[in-house]
């Protein structure tokens, strides 16, 4: 599987995600945000970081980059697009995913491990997991508070498009397990076609026993298997 990782000025987790892709058996190539064409890719990744300093609104300026129209076109053609953290924010700003990510309810940046419940295994990103499986992966963000209007939330749920929810270690969805105030503990969502995933947590940072866990690896394995 060959992934293209888009790098914006201020992106800072591009190497982390590339390493995770390699661990899962894929290859990764970086592309600078001002390219208007993309090489052939089985996966496009919008990685974590602070594109354009997160100034104005997280992801806002990155979503207006030269490379984005091509990302949107490829997504429309069915290429999987993964947005992690800042990448998720960019995806909502481009309109590829609905809703917005607001300032964390506690107002502080949060870096810690959280538990995620896999809400659907029905996607190229999550098929290596079982529905209901509980993962431990870190979050590291200031603006991860998922918001969308009631209709949108209903649509997401009806179409099984919520990919991950924040949960307790036993998989229960509680307010205490919600690190940032996201509506319905939503941590990640899919587009209608299920080939675009945006998620706040960082599966790429727990893909190696030395990092203290490998729960995040399944996501990248899923992608490698989908393509193979």
């Amino acid at each position: 599987m060959k992934a293209v990782v888009v790098v914006f000025p201020g992106t800072n987790r591009e190497r982390d995600v590339a390493a995770a892709i390699v661990r899962a058996g894929g290859k990764a190539e970086f592309v600078w945000h001002d390219e208007t064409a993309l090489p052939r890719a089985d996966l496009i990744v919008l990685p974590g970081g602070f594109a354009h300093g997160d100034y104005l609104r997280c992801g806002a300026m990155a979503a207006r980059s030269a490379v984005i129209p091509e990302v949107v076109r490829r997504a429309g053609a069915g290429v999987p697009v993964l947005g992690i953290c800042n990448g998720f924010q960019v995806l909502t700003e481009t309109g590829l995913l609905p809703g917005a990510l607001l300032r964390n309810a506690g107002l502080k940046f949060i870096c810690r491990d959280v538990h995620l419940r896999v809400e659907t295994a029905r996607s190229g990103f999550t098929q290596a997991y079982a529905q209901g499986q509980v993962l431990r992966v870190p979050v590291a963000h200031h603006d991860g508070n998922y918001f969308a209007d009631a209709d949108t939330i209903a649509r997401l749920k009806d179409a099984d498009r919520v990919a991950f929810r924040y949960c307790g270690a036993d998989g229960t969805i509680t307010a205490a397990a919600n690190p940032n105030g996201s509506l319905e503990n939503i941590a990640g969502i899919l587009n209608e076609r299920r080939n675009v995933l945006g998620m706040m947590p960082h599966p790429e940072n727990l893909t190696d026993p030395a990092q203290g866990g490998t729960d995040g690896l399944g996501l990248f394995r899923s992608l490698v298997e989908t393509v193979a």
């Binding site: 104005l56 207006r64 917005a100 607001l102 964390n104 107002l107 508070n145 918001f147």
Partner: protein
């Protein structure tokens, strides 16, 4: 010519910052404080001297970049 853009969250969109400010004001002993909302103020110097054209251009900036109309609304004011 200078434009002042106010960007605020639409009603119904949760405003964690405004909420926190409201709470902090209460703790500081300010009484009779109702809802607090936090928005952005963006001031832009423009070469354009025609007010109508200036305003149109700034509105365009809002639509294209400054505001996320999924959650935000904006108003434009020309000053000086």
């Amino acid at each position: 010519m200078k434009a002042r853009v106010h960007i605020t969250l639409k009603t119904g969109v949760l405003d964690p910052q405004g909420k926190a400010i409201g709470k902090a004001l209460g703790t500081l002993g300010f009484e009779g404080v109702g809802e607090v909302r936090q928005g952005k103020l963006i001031e832009i110097e423009l070469d354009e001297t025609d007010p109508a054209r200036a305003e149109a251009s700034v509105r365009d900036m809002c639509e294209k970049l400054l505001a996320n109309t999924v959650i935000e609304k904006y108003d434009v004011e020309l000053v000086g």
